[in-house]
Symmetry: C2
Subunit: 339 residues, 2 copies
């Protein structure tokens, strides 16, 4: 009875796979509402809450889950450090320095003392690298390794660079080359290379990603940045987020792809542009810059700011110049529950 | 070969069961160290970080894990609310009002849309009950349902009541009667009653616990409290924590046990005092009070402050007066990984 089977199959699709991460966030946002104290709630890289006159608290939480977020071969120390990096990257995009952090752990009982020491060392690595203390936490038993970090900062309200400030005419720019993380992950997941044989730039991109905190702080100080987001959900996704939050269109003409990603793509007949546009877990900053301040911003960045396109009022969404055409870039990227 | 089997059994004991939650926390605390900005790090109910002159940030995170922390029969809405309560209770013990919170979720894909709506509603229930907004979060897929909440507050540095201020001569007091939660949990786990048949006070203690935020704020304002902790890991455990942090002894002569817990204990031939002393998940406050201000503190509490003993310099640890003897109360309570 194939018909019945098909129906049963359809019924068996787990609900959260249909709902998706965005659907879940919508339910949370809608149910929890917004208070008068909230300056920025759900929907940006961080949340922002009024403190005293002109000052705000900047709050961020990001959870790393063993069964879904950990590349094969990653050590406990690397993954705990990465959990810190993922949180810091969002503050970096907002131009805000973390003041202190908390870490809640869910640990499977099968872990060893060495595993716990590795996690502790990785947390310390991350906190030291970005210059803030992890001041407390909570420890629990769990069936799935979980590292949930919460960061806290205080900033001038006007300092925080949101996703929503992009204006037509602004230059769209990024702080690095894309594609290495995706190429590295593909090499690992498809077992093209053993982790130890992975070319160094791919290895570092996957196992030792870095957050652009210094760069983010400098750029925010330049007063040239109108919108900013980190690229952890993928470049295309990040551009769509700025487009949506700022109610503008983004036209890109150029995507900086790392040499190693290009070499990998050629060797294994993949599309390097896909790695660069739709891969996630890459912690660059994606910003829009006032046109007349771009040179100053680039100088402040030490030459690390690469223009990739323009903000426009002509359309909404994200397009790419290809020959003389403008091709729509789909809103694709990393989303939990969608597989 | 029974000998070999015994050896293999010994090797198979999972390491974290040997290490225990305290062992894990020690590794974290030792590895992460303490910064000059940290006023209170690991080892109290909350962490405290210097802000400006006289002002501190108070930070708290507590994670609820489905496989270990959820009583049978608890709805998604109840457990999400309880996750909020557990966090608020620690701030209540410090006399600090939460300003805002974040929630990181780890959700198994098999959950339904209704489950997610239940979680959202429970989070809202908790946040509304204690008057602060949940302003953001993170959503992940996980094999184990995880609700990790982080709370943030700002307070006068001198306002925060730590575990470490108890002085010989102070009165030890609690804000409620103990035992209902343990009796209720035992009834559920041993299937003595179906959740819906559970006597109301036991049902509420297990499924609808409340944090003593108003009471904690009032007591802190009374300037009568020298040390404070919440009783979520059990009364005996909490008393030991104050004893250790304050380097004093605690002699109790009386433990207020709820009538329902006593009735349950009689009916099922259990020891009600064990429920009251060693059960966890009960969110009362355990405080030490300056002797000459006890009356004022009791008045401020609306009569809810029950004296249970005295702080002494004669010994360290916790003892109970029994007839004319002083009996040692062991440091037992809820600890993850120890089963």
């Amino acid at each position: 009875m194939p018909t019945t089977e098909v129906v049963q199959e359809a019924v068996k699709v787990p609900s959260l796979r249909e709902l998706g991460e965005l659907g879940i966030i919508q339910i949370m946002e809608h149910t929890l509402g917004k208070s008068s104290r909230t300056v920025v709630g759900f929907g940006d890289d961080v949340s922002v809450v009024k403190l005293t006159k002109g000052k705000v608290a900047v709050l961020k939480t990001d959870m790393l889950v063993g069964s879904t977020d950990v590349p094969p071969g990653m050590t406990m120390r690397q993954l705990a450090r990465k959990a810190v990096v993922a949180n810091v990257s969002d503050l970096a995009a907002k131009g805000v320095r973390p003041l202190a952090g908390l870490v809640a752990l869910g640990l499977p009982a099968r872990l060893s003392r060495q595993d716990v020491q590795g996690i502790a060392a990785g947390l310390r690595d991350g906190a030291n690298e970005y210059g803030f203390p992890l001041v407390g936490g909570d420890t629990n038993e769990s069936n799935d390794l979980t590292i949930s970090i919460a960061l806290f900062a205080v900033a001038d309200r006007r300092r925080v660079v949101l996703r929503s400030g992009a204006k037509p005419g602004d230059i769209v720019a990024v702080t690095g080359e894309f594609g290495s993380t995706s190429a590295g992950l593909m090499a690992l997941l498809n077992k093209k290379w053993h982790p130890r044989r992975l070319p160094r730039p791919l290895y570092d991109a996957v196992y030792k990603p870095t957050a652009q905190l210094k760069l983010g702080l400098r750029l925010a100080s330049s007063k040239a940045i109108t919108a900013s987001i980190d690229s952890s959900d993928g470049l295309a996704w990040s551009l769509h987020e700025i487009s949506k939050a700022s109610n503008v269109g983004i036209l890109i003409d150029n995507v900086p792809i790392s040499r190693t990603a290009r070499e990998f793509a050629t060797r294994f007949s993949c599309n390097a542009a896909n790695f660069a546009l739709y891969g996630g877990e890459e912690y660059h900053l994606v910003v829009t810059v006032k046109r007349d301040r771009f040179k100053a911003a680039r100088q402040v960045s030490g030459g690390k700011l690469h223009p990739i396109g323009l903000v426009t009022g002509r359309f909404r969404g994200v397009r790419m110049k290809h020959a003389e055409e403008e091709v729509g870039i789909p809103r694709k990227g990393w989303e939990h529950f969608k597989k």
